[in-house]
């Protein structure tokens, strides 16, 4: 009863690849509610993480670019390092923070979408800050003088500079979004890949792949690429309009 031998169903590797693609498209066409839910959660979580990291990262980046103070270069070095930190390390760090026995445990954020937003925020804020520093430092050197001679107060100047760097800053936000939505380690460790609650596109792809269900993995991969294409396309259009 237990001895089972299955003849390989793959006539060729190419056929296997084509079948996977075919199945993936069918899954998408049928708008499977579970797939839809996963995609929607991914987008929602990525959206909020991006909003939070941009609203902290951009002003911090602008301050770093505009102000001179002692230890600035060390801070920039640290920021660059955090940008290169593997996401599992950030995930682990956030897990320790958010776990019930951790310092933020009482918030009950672990294994919730909010917990993922928190971790992804930690991941993306240095990216947003770093790229904002680069965006602002590449601005015309005459800009600061022009702001001053027009009588801008420091606060007005701050906003004028960010506004002036807006296309590069927008690109920074899009890059941060791309990093967030394609991120796996943090989503897995802080979300827990809970079906119907914290399962995102990447964690679902990881799970489906581990189960050998390449079709669903591929289907979600396509959606992920499509979302990235859409966001980058928007940025492209905005930048094209004014260049």
């Amino acid at each position: 009863m237990f001895s089972i031998y299955k003849v390989s169903q793959r006539s060729s590797t190419l056929q296997f690849l084509l079948d996977s693609f075919h199945e993936a498209f069918l899954l998408l066409l049928h708008l499977d509610p579970e797939v839809f839910q996963i995609v929607w959660l991914s987008i929602t979580v990525s959206f909020w993480s991006t909003i939070f990291s941009a609203s902290i990262g951009i002003p911090v980046g602008a301050l770093l670019a505009l102000k001179d103070f002692r230890g600035k270069s060390i801070l920039l070095l640290l920021l660059n390092t955090t940008m290169a930190a593997p996401t599992v390390v950030i995930g682990l760090f956030c897990y320790v923070l958010l776990s019930r026995i951790g310092p933020l445990g009482s918030l009950g954020l672990l294994f919730t979408p909010s917990g993922m937003v928190f971790g992804l925020f930690i991941l993306a804020t240095p990216i947003a800050a770093n790229l904002s520093v680069a965006a602002i430092e590449s601005l015309d050197k005459r800009l600061m003088l022009t702001c001053e001679l027009l009588g801008a107060s420091p606060v007005q100047q701050f906003w004028l500079v960010i506004k002036e760097a807006r296309f590069a800053v927008m690109a920074a936000v899009v890059i941060a979004f791309g990093r967030i939505i394609s991120e796996l380690g943090i989503a897995m460790m802080l979300g827990g890949n809970i079906r119907g609650f914290t399962r995102t596109m990447t964690t679902a792809i990881a799970l489906e792949t581990s189960k050998g269900e390449f079709e669903l993995g591929l289907a979600l991969g396509f959606v992920l690429m499509a979302v990235a294409l859409f966001i980058n396309g928007l940025l492209f259009l905005v930048q094209k309009e004014h260049s």
């Binding site: 005459r142 003088l145 022009t146 001053e148 027009l150 009588g151 107060s153 002036e164």
Partner: protein
């Protein structure tokens, strides 16, 4: 007479290198002033000081009778309008660009736009409202920046090199604009230039700046040219100076009149910076003698009156030697 600016014993330096040292400078209200001097003499720095973009490290500095204090800088900046030599336009529409300073001053969007349109009319750039700076020519951009300064209607206008790189027509128009601001609106106008004729046409008086200091007249023996031959020869079209013993970089060179040796006999033949020519004209100034000579090309030099000037005659041959320590590059 009300002084718009009053400066006494003011010094300003970037990291220990003094850039400006002004003993006294009073600028009457409703006057037109030109700041004249070679590149790097501190004209633009002085203009920035007058625009309250920098504050002097010492000395007393007042504006319309009130002492300039660091806490008031932003309010003071909003009373003057500085047009830089190479102005920057923001990445937004022309109308927004002109309105930006007004918005910073707290005018509502609508008021600011209305005043901006007025400003554009003054530089005859109507119809450019929705254009973006990257679609403008250099001259158009310059005029938009001028409109931005005019729209602010400040008490004092500060123009950095307004006649630079302009054709004759535009120079005329700029002169007209400056006169109009001064005569009809009683504004103080201060501009920098190295075009002395442009300065003299317009101004109530000219302020000569040299090495960060206000000097009574233009400095003597100023040669404009370029360093060539591996940084050893300074080529000022009429004459070439061997500057191997001097340091620093610059596009102007000044020769101290007191360190020039003159002779009417053949002399200094093998020395560097020895010149040989024929005298074309001679004029005796307060403390120096001005010699115009021809040595392939005409050149002019101020020499000390202590030399044996009685032997100098128009048409005579002349030999000059300039000691290496007489040369300063600026």
């Amino acid at each position: 007479m009300i002084a718009s600016y009053s400066i006494k014993d003011v010094a300003f330096s970037y990291s220990y290198q003094p850039v400006l040292m002004i003993n006294t400078l009073d600028i009457p209200a409703s006057s037109v002033i030109a700041l004249v001097g070679p590149n790097g003499s501190g004209k633009t720095t002085l203009l920035h000081l007058l625009a309250f973009l920098i504050t002097p490290q010492k000395g007393s500095f007042s504006f319309f009778g009130a002492k300039v204090s660091a806490s008031e800088l932003i309010r003071l900046r909003r009373r003057v309008g500085l047009l830089p030599q190479n102005p920057y336009l923001f990445k937004c529409s022309v109308l927004e660009n002109v309105a930006i300073g007004l918005k910073l001053r707290g005018f509502s969007r609508r008021e600011a736009r209305k005043m901006a349109i007025e400003g554009l009319k003054k530089v005859r750039m109507e119809g450019y409202e929705s254009r973006w700076p990257n679609s403008l020519s250099g001259g158009e951009a310059q005029r938009i920046a001028l409109a931005r300064t005019l729209a602010l209607n400040p008490e004092v206008f500060l123009f950095d090199e307004p006649a630079n790189h302009l054709d004759l027509e535009s120079v005329k128009r700029t002169e007209q604009l400056i006169l109009n601001l001064n005569r009809n609106k009683k504004k103080t106008v201060i501009f920098t230039t190295h075009n002395l004729s442009f300065a003299q046409n317009l101004t109530d008086f000219v302020i000569h700046i040299f090495q960060g200091q206000v000097v009574p007249t233009a400095p003597y023996n100023l040669f404009r040219g370029q360093i060539q031959h591996g940084g050893k020869i300074f080529d000022a079209s009429a004459v070439q100076f061997d500057i191997s013993k001097t340091t620093g970089r610059g596009t102007c060179l000044i020769v101290d009149p007191t360190k020039i040796s003159i002779s009417t006999q053949e002399e200094f033949a093998n020395l560097p910076n020895a010149f040989h020519g024929r005298i074309i004209s001679l004029s005796l100034l307060r403390d120096v003698v001005k010699i115009e000579a021809f040595a392939g090309e005409k050149f002019e030099i101020h020499a000390p009156t202590s030399s044996d000037i009685t032997s100098l005659r128009i048409g005579r041959e002349i030999w000059l030697h300039i000691g290496p320590n007489a040369i300063t590059l600026v």
